[in-house]
Symmetry: C2
Subunit: 210 residues, 2 copies
DNA sequence: GTCTATACTACGATAGAC
DNA sequence: GTCTATCGTAGTATAGAC
C-alpha cells in the first residue's frame, strides 16, 4: 500500500510532523515546511487554515496511531498484570514505530499556553483522543489495585511515572543515545526498554510475584 | 539576603527563566523579555551577547541549583538504597523549589539542534554540569548493582526512568494537575510524589526488602 | 547602563492570476 | 491547486546619543 505518490496534504503533514517534533511549534516556520514539502508557503494555506490548525492535525494523527496500538489492551479481559504488560508493549511499539511520535506527544503533554489559542475542531479532537487513552490507563490501573493484583499505589502518580518512563525515554534522542550507547530506537534498545520496564513494574507494583 | 533590588542582569535572568520554561527558546521574543524586565530590547544586549547566550546562562543557573541539591548525595557514604532515597528527595526538592527548573531541564534533555549553534563557554558549562550530575547517578546505581543491593537492572535505563518519572512529572504543569487533582507543586503532591517513587524503587530495584 | 533609531530578515496570512 | 506579490508585524542585532 501507499506506493502511489503522496497527496500534497499528506506530504505537508509528514514533513510538519518531523519538524514540529524536532523544534516545537514556535521553532518551525511555514517557509521551512513549504520547502520540505516542495511547495510555496502560500500553498499551505490552501490545505490548512493556519499554522495552528496544521499543528493540531499533525498531533491528532499521532494520537490516532497511538490509540490504534492501545485500544486492544483496553478491551482485553486478561488479568491486570498481563494487561499492564500489554500496555507497555503497545505504548513502546507505538513510539518506536514512529520516530517523531514521542517528541510530539511529550511536547503536547508538558507545554502549555503554546500559541494563539485558536479553538477549532482539531484541537478538541486531540483533547478527546488524549483523554480516551488516559481513561483506559486509569481504568486498567484502578482495576488492578481494587482486585488486589497491584499494591495500593496512587493511580495518578503511576500514570505520570509510566508516561515519564516511556514517552520521555523515546523522546530523548541524542541524550538517550549517549546514555545507552546505541540509538533509543534501535531494535535491541527497544526490546530492552520493554523488559526493563516490565521487570520494574512486576516487582514494583504487582502485589504477588509473577 | 536579597532584599536589595535585583540588578538588571539578575532581573533579566529571572524573567527569561520563567519565559523559556513556559514557551521554549524559539517561543520567546526578546521584546517580551525586555518588557517583563522593565527595559528596552536593546538594553538586553548590554548584558548578554545574544539570545543564545542568555538561554545558556539561564540553563546553567538552573543546573547549578540542582547540583547544589544532589552534591551531598554523591558524597554520602551510606548504603546504596539509602543513597537512592536521598537522590529522589534531592531531585524532587530541587525541582519543587524552583517551579521553572523541571521544564527548562526537560527541554534541555530532549530538544536538540535547538538553535543557531553558538558554542561559547556558557553552553560548555551547561554540558559539564549535566555530565557531572549524570555521572553521580550512574555511580550510585552501579555501586548498588555491584554490591548486590539492587537487582541487575540496566543502569542507563534506570537513569532514563528516574529522569522521566521525576523531571517529566514536575514539568507537566496543567496536565499533571488535572491528573492529580491538585497542583504538582503543592506540598501534599510533592511529598506524595517522593513516597510513591521511593515505594516503587524499594520494591522494584532493591534486591532485599528494606 | 539605558535609551532611540534603524538595519535586515523572517514571520503568518491574504489577494488574485493562472 | 499552485503560483507571485504583498501586507503588516515581529524577530535578532547594531550604532550611537545621553
Amino acid at each position: 500500500m501507499a506506493l502511489e505518490p503522496l497527496s500534497s496534504r499528506e506530504k505537508i503533514l509528514d514533513v510538519s510532523e518531523a519538524l514540529f517534533a524536532r523544534r516545537g511549534f514556535a521553532g518551525v516556520g511555514l517557509r521551512e515546511v513549504a520547502d520540505a514539502a516542495g511547495l510555496r508557503k502560500s500553498s499551505l494555506f490552501h490545505h490548512f487554515r493556519s499554522k495552528t490548525q496544521l499543528y493540531y492535525e499533525v498531533l491528532g494523527r499521532v494520537l490516532g496511531r497511538i490509540q490504534l496500538h492501545v485500544a486492544p489492551v483496553f478491551e482485553s479481559r486478561r488479568a491486570a498484570l498481563q494487561r499492564l504488560d500489554q500496555l507497555v508493549d503497545a505504548l513502546v511499539d507505538a513510539l518506536a514505530e514512529d520516530p517523531t511520535a514521542a517528541r510530539l506527544l511529550l511536547r503536547a503533554l508538558f507545554e502549555e499556553d503554546r500559541f494563539p489559542a485558536e479553538p477549532g475542531a482539531e484541537a478538541e479532537e486531540c483533547e478527546r483522543r488524549l483523554a480516551e487513552i488516559l481513561q483506559g490507563i486509569r481504568c486498567l490501573l484502578r482495576e488492578g489495585v481494587e482486585a488486589g493484583a497491584f499494591h495500593r499505589v496512587s493511580v495518578a502518580h503511576t500514570i505520570q511515572t509510566l508516561i515519564g518512563a516511556i514517552v520521555f525515554h523515546f523522546a530523548s534522542g541524542e541524550f538517550g543515545e549517549s546514555l545507552l550507547g546505541r540509538p533509543v530506537l534501535s531494535a535491541e534498545a527497544v526490546s530492552r526498554r520493554k523488559q526493563e520496564l516490565k521487570n520494574l513494574l512486576h516487582r514494583g507494583i504487582a502485589a504477588a510475584p509473577a
